[in-house]
């Protein structure tokens, strides 16, 4: 078998079959019709095509911006939720209004179909979590109106605030401890450390001769953790403090 040279010859004919060449010559000889296209209508069609492309591109850009904005909002919200230190242990509390001093009335087992559970908001509202100010920023307005509640460090987390409060209490720096605990309770109302902080806060305020503030701390503790309402210490302390002004969070309404 001989090898076949497949390299094209630069001068190779396009048509080698003479009879086919006749057909090809006929094709080449076709009279070209005069193009009857109006130039202005062609330009208008091109402009229309371009504007359509621009519209689609603009719509695509708007969709991309909207998607980016939604993504940013989602990320930002997630970061905010993480800032409130909502842990898995605390998550059920979000749905359980009764534990926040409210009441959940579920449908009875024998109730009618379609009966819905109702949630009653707590009378003593939970203070919303305060946004964490940036490092070096001034304390919030509320904190600035109350010297006792000024945070010493604006960007501390709940555990760090609790640790510092412990140190302050150990060093008998009562005012500093009260300020740190107040900050912890207001800034991280859901944090596990807030429960112990309210107990300590109530005790410190009572020792400091501020019974109305102490009463508010204990009431807030009971509102947030109703199971603590029957704790002997709290029952006894609240009884000793007696009735006093209504509270709004940690502040007595005088």
């Amino acid at each position: 078998m001989s090898a076949v040279d497949v390299r094209p010859d630069a001068g190779e004919p396009a048509v080698r079959q003479p009879e086919l060449a006749v057909f090809v010559e006929l094709a080449r000889a076709q009279p070209v019709p005069t193009v009857r296209i109006d130039t202005q209508s062609l330009i208008a069609a091109v402009a229309k095509q371009r504007s359509t492309r621009i519209r689609w591109a603009s719509a695509g850009a708007v969709v991309a911006i909207a998607a980016a904005w939604l993504l940013w909002v989602a990320i930002d919200r997630r970061a905010w939720l993480q800032g409130t230190e909502a842990t898995r242990d605390e998550a059920p509390r979000v749905l359980d209004g009764s534990r926040d001093g409210g009441e959940v009335r579920a449908a009875e087992p024998g109730g009618t179909a379609g009966e819905r559970a109702t949630i009653v908001a707590p009378e003593d509202p939970i203070e919303p979590p305060q946004p964490t100010p940036p490092a070096g920023a001034a304390p919030s307005d509320e904190a600035s109106t109350d010297d006792e509640t000024k945070p010493t460090e604006p960007v501390l987390d709940a555990d760090e605030l609790a640790r510092r409060a412990e140190k302050a209490m150990a060093a008998r720096r009562r005012d500093e401890a009260i300020a740190l605990l107040t900050t912890l309770v207001r800034r991280f109302p859901r944090a596990p450390a807030a429960k112990a902080a309210l107990l300590d806060l109530g005790r410190l305020l009572r020792v400091d001769g501020r019974p109305d503030d102490a009463r508010c701390a204990y009431r807030l503790l009971v509102a947030r953790w109703p199971s603590e309402a029957k704790a002997p210490e709290i029952t006894r302390v609240l009884a000793s403090l007696g009735d006093g002004p209504e509270c709004r969070g940690l502040k007595p309404l005088r």
């Binding site: 094209p8 396009a14 080698r16 086919l20 094709a27 076709q30 005069t34 296209i37 130039t39 062609l42």
Partner: protein, 200 residues
């Protein structure tokens, strides 16, 4: 589209063409009109030779120029405008052949409804019949083979020119052209073309 462009008589055709294309890329209506006027018959000839159907020439030429002017901003100025237009025309004609294959028998009969098929002397009628059969056979070829044969045989392009407009190597153009020739001869009932060794 705004502004106008003027052309000096003393410039070379290449320089003048580059100026016109640049103006058209900026959206200059006069430049676009000039480009269209100077290339429309050339594109019409390509389209006619690719399709063999004079009745579709206007539509395809319009499609080619709308596509070309819409995408003109992406045209590289170092490229040949003629080559670019030919490539666009080949793509449009490829779509046309695809659509034609799907058409009904009634529409296929319109192949003969061209000026070339008008009743007249016997030779003209015979030529029209030959063209009809030839383009029917050409249309039955795969796109790549048809395009190579059209560029090389009907447009009389060199291997290098066909390679450039079809964007494939020279050897590929050569192979496709020869393969298309074999298939056309078979479809038209002609003897097969001589092999390379027979050429001498």
């Amino acid at each position: 589209m705004s502004g106008t462009v003027t052309w000096d008589v003393g410039r070379t055709p290449q320089a003048e063409a580059a100026i016109i294309i640049a103006a058209a890329q900026r959206g200059d209506a006069a430049a676009i009109a000039e480009l269209f006027a100077s290339h429309r018959q050339q594109v019409a000839r390509h389209v006619l030779r690719m399709t063999g159907d004079a009745s579709c020439v206007d539509d395809l030429v319009q499609e080619v120029f709308i596509a070309a002017f819409s995408a003109l901003t992406g045209f590289r100025r170092d490229a040949q405008f003629d080559t670019w237009l030919y490539t666009i025309a080949a793509n449009k004609v490829r779509n046309w052949w695809d659509a034609r294959r799907r058409r009904s028998v009634r529409e296929q009969s319109a192949i003969g409804a061209t000026p070339a098929e008008s009743r007249g002397p016997e030779e003209e009628v015979l030529a029209a019949e030959h063209l009809k059969h030839f383009y029917a056979a050409l249309g039955s070829l795969p796109d790549k083979l048809r395009e190579a044969f059209t560029a090389r045989a009907i447009e009389h392009m060199s291997l290098q020119d066909a390679s450039r407009v079809l964007e494939v190597p020279v050897s590929t153009v050569s192979y496709r052209t020869r393969r298309a020739e074999e298939l056309l001869c078979a479809a038209l009932g002609l003897p097969p073309p001589p092999t390379r060794g027979d050429d001498g």
